[in-house]
Symmetry: C2
Subunit: 182 residues, 2 copies
DNA sequence: GAATATAGTTTAGAGTCTAAACTATATTTA
DNA sequence: TAAATATAGTTTAGACTCTAAACTATATTC
């Protein structure tokens, strides 16, 4: 009845959440603020909005809106209206917040090894889960079906047509879609 | 700089939290209440206390205490003082709560496959992480250094001396310790 | 140009969270 | 064995979070 793999996942998650709480405490901020800073430090330039945060964290946009206001008041986030779509406000970490995010990252992203099998296992777990739940989005461009490697060594996003550096394709994108499996 | 495996873990976790929130919403309860019911449905008989919940979820015992009170008021949890140690109150799910936990489990514990590699990958990830953070506890007895298989096919816990069924060794224990690697 | 969709804000009210002080029981130490 | 300390849990006050729903503003579709 109880599937071992799900128990590992359950525990891994509760441990992760525990660490977020602890790291936030150390920095003197709320856990949800730590999550927001963490997300903004690993998302790409298409994905740094309140709407994306709401989708990523699974909270209502009202809640995100309030948290972002507090973070702005504390000098951790800077908001800039998007010139192409004036409904959109893009969020940026201030240097102070970047330093915090980096310290939090050290706690949340310890060197867990580069093991190929673990990497593949987590990836296929995530694919399965996102597919069965019709959850779309949020993955690194380098694993996205719309990403292609150009002959000059740079990458290109098939959705926006823009070119991406090798650093950029490691960031999280809200438009991300896995390759459909045959 | 950004390690791929950590990004998968990060996303897996946010997705899991998202699902908890969603499942809780569907059941008309708070996310943290869902987590408490979920934990109590997979922990063993040594681990169903407020203290264990506090350690597992990484929250203060004051916070857990309040949540447990609300759950009791809603008829989802029953509290019984432990006769061996009267400081301890053991927590039990009511039938109503068991039904909820089962439905939540279906969402949080989809059939993610039994793949041996994924299983091993998650396990070693968790071991590494718990070790580097000096986090002890919370794992299935079947992977615990104190657990041994008796000749009659049952199991025995080396800490309590009690014997455990093959169902029981699949539950989470707060005293869990991995085998120390040589 | 009107209808609809999308991004984000605001509000009220219920609830969560923490630290710290507290009660009660158990264990250790002198 | 009595005193000191440790452990399990409760209570309190106050700051903060969360959601739903109504709202503004801009963009897209028909």
């Amino acid at each position: 009845m109880i599937n071992d793999i799900n128990i590992w996942l359950e525990r891994l998650t509760s441990l992760y959440n525990s660490q977020v709480r602890h790291a936030a405490n150390t920095e003197g901020i709320r856990p949800v603020h730590a999550e927001i800073l963490q997300y903004l430090s690993i998302c790409n330039r298409y994905s740094n909005t309140a709407q994306a945060l709401s989708e990523y964290l699974g909270q209502t946009k009202g809640s995100i809106s309030q948290s972002v206001q507090l973070l702005e008041k504390d000098g951790l986030i800077e908001r800039r209206q998007c010139s192409e779509d004036k409904r959109v406000t893009r969020l940026f970490l201030t240097p102070k917040a970047q330093a915090i995010a980096e310290r939090i990252g050290k706690v949340l992203m310890p060197n867990l090894g580069e093991a190929k099998e673990a990497n593949n296992a987590l990836k296929s777990l995530l694919m399965d889960w996102q597919l069965t739940n019709q959850h779309k989005g949020f993955g690194q461009c380098q694993t996205c079906r719309y990403n292609s490697l150009l002959s000059d060594g740079t990458f290109q996003c098939g959705l926006t047509g823009e070119s991406l550096s090798s650093d950029e394709v490691k960031l999280l994108c809200r438009e991300h879609e896995f390759q459909v499996r045959s």
